[in-house]
């Protein structure tokens, strides 16, 4: 009987892959036929980035069971490191997709390092400390990048804090300009790159969750003391989940940033962290497909409501509340269950 249970998870995973691929193909066909509005076209890459953010945060919140309020901080680290890498490599690597790929990898590595450093003290603690510290981390990262100057010239990289003392030589270029953020970015992020990143994210997350390590992580979420008593190294597995989550967020940040010609550190603030958390909660904790749908729908929704101008955020909030109520409604749930069971019966008869 155990096989049936596994195949259920596997089926759900393949359904998720299938729907993502289907969405990509449909968008490509519609785009080719010129049926996609320009506002939606502009949102495709941000949607991909938010989907990756939501899935990666779901690893921390849903699978590991820890509340992180600073996911945008990792996005920020990824955005700045990745975009800087892309700008530095602009002359040496002419192929845009290759440059984008390298930048995303660098972004993921730096975000992973940030996650590791935060995790060392915090993951050893019990209770809500991770939420508090990640919240602070998001704000600190914002301040750091708001005051960071990074320039490049023939002598190499120059970094300074608080004021621009990079003293760039002839032909030098200021990459990060403190509160001005990064400007003059070549927009090399594409929908296809975003799609590939989503697929990579899903492969990483699904494989982790279904592995020996994933079982250990979920055991810790279920009961920390019991997990320790069967010999699970709690700190190690929490760190594993947290670092993977952070690095995926970093890659998402770099993808997001290189869709714009300019961005500032304030873009990745507390509100962004909460927004991603809303995707996760709305889509269901531990439910990756739910996160993907919630991220896509809630990124499109505010734009779709643009015609209501002043009432936009009000309607957005009301829709959020209605969705929450609807998904928790017992009548609706039992109706869905009936639908599922009758569907099964039909299958059995057939």
């Amino acid at each position: 009987m155990k096989n049936i249970k596994w195949s259920k998870t596997t089926r759900k995973n393949f359904l998720t892959y299938g729907l993502v691929i289907l969405a990509y193909v449909v968008m490509q066909i519609l785009g080719g036929a010129g049926l996609v509005s320009s506002s939606l076209k502009g949102m495709l890459v941000p949607i991909c980035a938010y989907v990756v953010m939501a899935v990666s945060l779901n690893l921390t919140v849903g699978v590991m069971g820890e509340l992180s309020l600073g996911h945008a901080g990792f996005m920020s680290v990824g955005a700045f490191c990745g975009t800087s890498t892309a700008i530095i490599l602009q002359d040496s690597i002419s192929s845009a997709p290759l440059r984008l790929a390298i930048s995303l990898v660098v972004a993921a590595i730096f975000a992973a390092i940030a996650g590791f450093l935060i995790g060392i003290p915090v993951l050893r603690l019990r209770g809500d400390y991770l939420a508090i510290v990640t919240l602070a981390f998001g704000e600190i990262i914002k301040s750091v990048f708001n005051n960071l100057y990074l320039g490049v010239d023939s002598r190499g990289l120059h970094i300074s804090l608080l004021s621009d003392r990079t003293n760039l030589g002839e032909g030098g270029k200021l990459i990060i300009g403190g509160p001005m953020g990064i400007g003059g970015i070549q927009k090399i992020s594409t929908f296809t790159a975003g799609f590939v990143l989503i697929i990579i994210t899903l492969v990483v997350v699904f494989n982790l969750v279904n592995s020996r390590a994933g079982r250990a992580i979920m055991a810790i979420r279920d009961n920390r003391i019991a997990a320790e008593s069967v010999g699970v190294n709690v700190t190690k597995y929490k760190m594993m989940a947290f670092v993977i989550s952070a690095s995926l967020a970093g890659a998402a940040g770099a993808l997001f940033a290189m869709n714009y010609s300019t961005f500032v550190a304030n873009k990745f603030d507390f509100n962004t962290s909460i927004l991603v958390l809303v995707f996760v909660v709305l889509g269901g904790q531990g439910n990756m497909l739910g996160s993907i749908i919630a991220a896509a729908a809630l990124t499109i929704l505010p734009e779709a409501l643009r015609e209501y101008a002043d009432y936009r955020m009000l309607v957005y909030a009301i829709i959020l509340i209605l969705v929450m109520l609807a998904t928790n409604n017992p009548k609706l749930k039992s109706w869905m269950d009936r639908l599922k069971s009758s569907h099964k019966k039909v299958k059995e008869v057939a």
């Binding site: 055991a219 279920d222 997990a227 320790e228 008593s229 069967v230 010999g231 699970v232 190294n233």
Partner: protein
């Protein structure tokens, strides 16, 4: 008989509270040793210290001739010392079988023989092997917690209040299982408030009071001792 577990002069503090005051005792191979005492006597604290969840400031904990001293909790299981924590801490969202598989987490290789063995001790678990553990009754959850600990093939299994919160008939069933394990040669360190039941299965017992061992002897001696009768057995 060979001594497998030797606790020598341990002192444990919760902040400024001195919970364990210089306790020493030993467990020999194949024995059931019980620690009894009232609430707050330090029984669970002692077990948690041996399991590495807490640390002693002084003394030593020797297991199979090796000092467990400051070893992390998750490493102690693989050395052959399994703890069944107080309050049936099972993985509520996993199935019975998955819980047992988690018990064998530190081991490599095939576990089907061990699963069969555990199901042999606990036939009720076999009936419910694909049921989600959170839906089990209290007694079944306790059995699952014990079965899970056995999956790591421990040299010594430490049970922390296995009878807590169970109906008398289930308490009896749990103690029958403990007897059965003992007959199969398992070494057991048992912490209990139910002195009567614990002493009737135990080879030896230690009585704890406010962080100290105040009395020790064989199970029968303690059952007959007037102090124990007065303090724990009501008469």
């Amino acid at each position: 008989m060979e001594t497998v577990l030797k606790i020598d002069d341990i002192n444990v503090y919760y902040g400024s509270i001195h919970a364990i005051k210089g306790i020493s005792f030993d467990v020999k191979k194949g024995e059931i040793v019980t620690l009894i005492g009232a609430n707050g006597a330090g029984k669970s604290t002692t077990l948690n210290t041996i399991a590495g969840l807490l640390n002693s400031h002084t003394g030593s904990i020797q297991f199979m001739g090796e000092n467990l001293g400051k070893q992390a909790a998750h490493k102690i299981v693989s050395k052959g010392l399994a703890l069944v924590p107080e309050g049936r801490r099972i993985f509520l969202q996993m199935t019975v079988q998955e819980n047992l598989e988690m018990g064998a987490y530190t081991r490599k290789g095939d576990i089907s023989a061990d699963l069969e063995k555990v199901y042999g001790y606990f036939p009720r678990l076999k009936e419910r092997y694909k049921q989600v553990a959170g839906t089990l009754s209290g007694g079944e959850q306790q059995m699952l917690a014990m079965g899970r600990a056995l999956m790591s093939r421990p040299q010594v299994i430490m049970l922390d209040e296995p009878s807590m919160g169970l109906a008398p008939i289930l308490v009896e069933e749990i103690f029958n299982i403990i007897r059965n394990l003992h007959e199969h040669g398992t070494t057991i360190l048992l912490v209990e408030q139910n002195a009567q039941a614990a002493l009737s299965v135990a080879d030896r017992g230690y009585v704890m009071e406010t962080g100290k061992i105040v009395l020790s002897g064989t199970g029968e001696e303690l059952l007959d001792s007037p102090e124990i009768k007065k303090a724990y057995l009501g008469g």
